[in-house]
Amino acid sequence: MREPPYSTVLKPYGAALVELARRQPEIICLGADLTRQTETDLFRDQLPDRFINIGMAEANMMSVAGGLARAGRVVFVNTFGVFSTRRCFDQIAMSIAYPKLNVKIVGFMPGLSSPGGPSHQAIEDVALMRALPNFTVVEPSDAIETTLAVAAIAAHPGPVYLRLKRGEIPVIFEDSHRLDLHRAQIVVGGEGCEVCIVASGMMLPAALAAARTLIENDVGVAVLNAPVIKPFDGATVMAAARGSRLVITAENHTIIGGLGSAVAEVLAEAGASAPLRRIGIADTFGEAGSREYLFAKYGLGTQDIVDAAWDGLKINRPAPQARVVELSPGAYAPV
């Protein structure tokens, strides 16, 4: 794993999709008037015959994708996460999920990463898609994992929701990183640490930074990267959390129905007694604003994780302050 500030790259998803589609002629790319924003201008320009702009008609797009998939195509459907889930949920359920079709829905601008306010902030998309039978739900946390996810979900037969950050994508993992659609990974610490933090997507860098601060203050911490929310790798979570005094989940999503809920279900069903603190959007809509402002205001910062650990462990002195990473243009660090 690399150290913050992380370097960033542009369009890792778009580039990976074009590369894969060159080798797999059955891949079709659909969009809904957000071509550049979903990195699929690369596909449009390089494989125009297999790029179809459906226009601003997400319900139609999902059912068209179903028809194409029934005819043997592997269909990548691209738009913002709000429009690719909440706007057309019945179409996804009936035209894609129920018939288990080979459609990959790619939703950009997760959680509070969009400055556009509640209409553009997908805060419950993971909960919606996780509730649908037959769906796999994937949220990579960096560019390396995003590239791996494209090939992995294309190879997986059936519907997938891929949740992607838009814009500058940090590079956190080494090039040798691997993604398995059935596994979470312990990326810091090991089994039985005092605190076990399970994170996905944009909250992984925050979890790593919080772990660094806690470890410097003599708290044992494990960090799990959980890029696949469904099917959820409860075995790895239990292996890491068994013996922990506190489990913390960190997600850029409402704390209802997403990663925090998946971990809660695993802990409860195993009869594990460690208390759970869920870092995420606390059952509220967001507002317009910068990532820095919104993540701080809505409790998605590194310090929020440190504070949750301190409070959960009932340590009787002031919580340490997470280091602020100086950012140069084009670099990325968690809030």
């Binding site: 297999r50 139609n60 059912s63 068209v64 179903g66 028809g67 194409l68 005819a71 043997g72 009936m94």
Partner: protein, 269 residues
């Protein structure tokens, strides 16, 4: 790949009557069900399955899954389905569910949630076009489901892409759950709406098999997608059914069944 040999008008009229008869027998098992859908669409299904559509090659999309009874009846009458299977219609564990589903045989796509079928048909038509396949895509729609906005999203997009192998047949029977469609909202002028969306449109008496056949014959005569607005009656014009009966979901007692059966048998003779 080839369907049934093309039937003449007399044979198509008999096929339509036999579809109604089969549907009546199926609904009689439980004493209630989606009989009106088969009564209203019998000639449309007879024409499609009586030679227009190449079953197993052309695509068939049944958008309103409540019409699946007409599909079962037509399939049984054209040798695509063992007629004995019809006795399981609507029963627990049967593949012949009362509202079509992924378990439904004999169609490429059946939707239970209304308004999604045309989009699926657009997907089939795009796939055929991309692959350069000689394949028509037939989508059966009802007028009531046109209250769903998705139908018009799909209609607009199909015309934009000039999907000339896409053929929509609309069973315009003016019936939906809460009553006549025109008492709930105004779809008219229906044919003009489809024309305005960029489709070639033919409007016919949906109980006239000859008119339906002529309409299907010109389906590939232009680059635009093609719609047939088939004007029908939810009770199929049967004199045996009192006009006050709720056509969307018919309660069928023994006396009504007997009256319908004798009227249809007279039509077949």
């Amino acid at each position: 790949m080839s369907g049934a040999p093309e039937l003449n008008s007399v044979m198509l009229r008999r096929l339509a009557a036999r579809i109604r008869l089969r549907a009546t027998e199926m609904v009689a098992i439980q004493g209630f069900g989606y009989l009106g859908q088969a009564l209203s669409a019998a000639e449309i299904f007879a024409t499609l399955f009586g030679g227009v559509m190449r079953h197993g090659h052309d695509r068939f999309v049944l958008s309103p899954g409540h019409y699946v009874i007409a599909l079962y009846a037509a399939a049984a009458e054209t040798g695509l389905l063992n007629p004995q299977a019809l006795a399981t219609y609507g029963k627990d564990g049967s593949d012949l569910e009362a509202i079509g589903s992924e378990r439904t045989p004999l169609a490429d796509l059946v939707c239970g949630s209304l308004g999604q079928g045309l989009s699926g048909a657009v997907g089939f038509a795009l796939a055929a076009e991309l692959a350069g396949e000689d394949r028509d895509v037939f989508a059966f729609l009802s007028d009531g489901e046109m209250e769903e906005g998705q139908v018009w999203e799909a209609a607009m997009f199909a015309a934009h892409r000039r999907l000339g192998r896409l053929i929509v047949t609309i069973d315009a029977n003016n019936s939906q759950v809460d009553g006549p469609v025109d008492s709930v909202t105004t779809l008219e002028p229906l044919a003009d709406k489809w024309r305005a969306f960029g489709w070639r449109v033919v409007e016919v008496d949906g109980h006239d098999v000859e008119a339906l056949r002529r309409a299907f014959a010109v389906r590939n005569d232009g680059p635009e997608p093609f719609a047939i607005v088939a004007r029908t009656q939810i009770l199929g014009g049967l004199r045996a059914i009192p006009p006050t009966v709720d056509g969307h979901f018919i309660k069928l007692d023994a006396a009504l069944k007997a009256a319908i059966t004798s009227e249809l048998e007279a039509a077949i003779a």
